[in-house]
Symmetry: C2
Subunit: 286 residues, 2 copies
């Protein structure tokens, strides 16, 4: 161990944790060290580049607080989040596919009755969302908890507004006895991921745009079924083929149908155009 | 790009930066994404483990400030720093080998005359350091700038003391016309890298100790020669075979000779034991 050089150092580092008490941690760190070193060798990393990397990671850490998670943004934009999601949610054919959680989910959600308007002041055109939660055999899943969240017409989630102390276009509902659900919200719009930090700087330097296609987030949980975290994407969106976080699956794209002013699905008269979105979710049994 | 899955996502991410204006950045990010994804696949990273990683990086970032660089500590303890140093400082046989810079170098250093005592109150047994700076052909390198820094008898660098506003056991000297240098300091002692942050937590979880063998840092610069960043390690130290940052090279180990009280190299009478350390540096021409 006194003559470690650029060829022997990887094995030397790995040997050092051979006695780690946690075998899983040991395996993870062995792979991490091998890939970290292989990366440095492959690109012949210079000392200036190494230091730029240290500074970038430091800036990323300093950007993180209780409302902003810049490392998740990095993971999302480098495709790691979608890879981890895909590996951990291999579903049988017929089940709704999962996609990334994203940084805007909130634990403490407001509960609504079926049919409620969850808009709560969020700007945007009205949208009536309807569907069913079912199992793979077609059985209705009653009482499934559906958490919903989305960006508004200005491309912002409620939690991105400074000083806004209530949820908007965000809520929790429960499916009916026949597995159905419906609620009113605003049309979800495309938006750029935050670009004022290191993540945005990276995208710019790589010649990449920061946009995500319009989508509506769902987290669906029901006893006896695996929890599903997914989006519904809006058909026709110009960013469907270049989502900044690689979250699009074609099975998750749906038509958001525009209607002229008239009778809305809830029986009220709408003086403005409105949209309907129909989507059924299929859960996998635990 | 609408059917990205766990098998196709790596190529999809790489394709996204194919038009990056900076070709070097593009190559680095291509390799980084490949290894990041290969790591996640190889260990079958779970979502909980992914989030633990996000949290670990965030904590590491929050630990960094103008006096503490936790990401460098991570790089050091994972062997990346030594790998980058070794790759970028391949020296011809006969030249002094380089090793890691470490986190305790200071840009704004105090200048001393040859023969000076740079201790300035640092606790420890006196040590007289002597040597020459030469080129590979044996030529004396006159006027070489030698920056020196080290831990004291308590295992701390001056910059680790809260409220200490002067340098201790740290200074800059210049070699004489014959390339020689000499100064007085205290004996450098073994010490643990900081263990109160995520880096220390990682070492503990991996069953690793945090100790570095005793060493004296040098940064040597002279016109016409490549700058050398290295340590001299103390022969006999119990951590020479398990340096927490993998910095030891056997060619950098030297005897720190203990002397009984008596006449010191500077002609003074020492009432206590003292040490001498002799080491010659060989620089590579630019």
């Amino acid at each position: 161990m006194r003559n470690i050089d650029e060829d022997t150092i990887t094995q030397a580092v790995i040997a050092r944790h051979a006695q780690a008490p946690d075998a899983r941690l040991r395996d993870i760190m062995t792979s991490l060290v091998q890939h970290l070193h292989a990366f440095a060798r492959e690109v012949k990393l210079t000392e200036a580049e190494w230091f730029a990397g240290i500074q970038f990671l430091t800036d990323t850490g300093h950007m993180c607080n209780d409302k902003r998670q810049e490392f998740i943004l990095l993971s999302d934009t480098l495709g790691l989040s979608m890879l981890v999601t895909a590996m951990n949610h291999r579903r049988p054919p017929g089940c709704t596919e999962a996609t990334v959680l994203g940084p805007f989910h909130v634990e403490d959600n407001q509960r609504y009755e079926l049919g409620a308007d969850i808009t709560n002041g969020a700007p945007g055109e009205p949208c009536y969302v309807r569907g069913h939660v079912r199992g793979l055999d077609g059985e209705a899943v009653a009482g499934a908890e559906l958490q919903v969240w989305q960006a508004d017409a200005d491309g912002f989630y409620d939690v991105q507004y400074e000083g806004l102390d209530q949820h908007r276009a965000r809520g929790t509902l429960h499916s009916a006895a026949d597995g159905s659900f419906h609620f009113k919200t605003v049309v979800a719009c495309e938006y750029p991921v935050p670009t004022d930090g290191p993540g945005g700087k990276m995208l710019k330097a790589l010649g990449r745009h920061a946009w995500r296609p319009a989508h509506l987030h769902f987290m669906i949980a029901a006893p006896g079924y695996r929890r599903l975290i997914t989006h519904i994407f809006r058909n026709g969106d110009r960013y469907l083929d270049s989502d900044a976080v690689f979250g699009v699956r074609s099975s998750l794209i749906a038509d958001w149908v525009r209607h002229e002013p008239g009778t809305a699905p809830d029986g009220t008269q709408s003086a403005t155009p409105f949209y309907t979105l129909d989507f059924d979710f299929v859960l996998e049994k635990e």
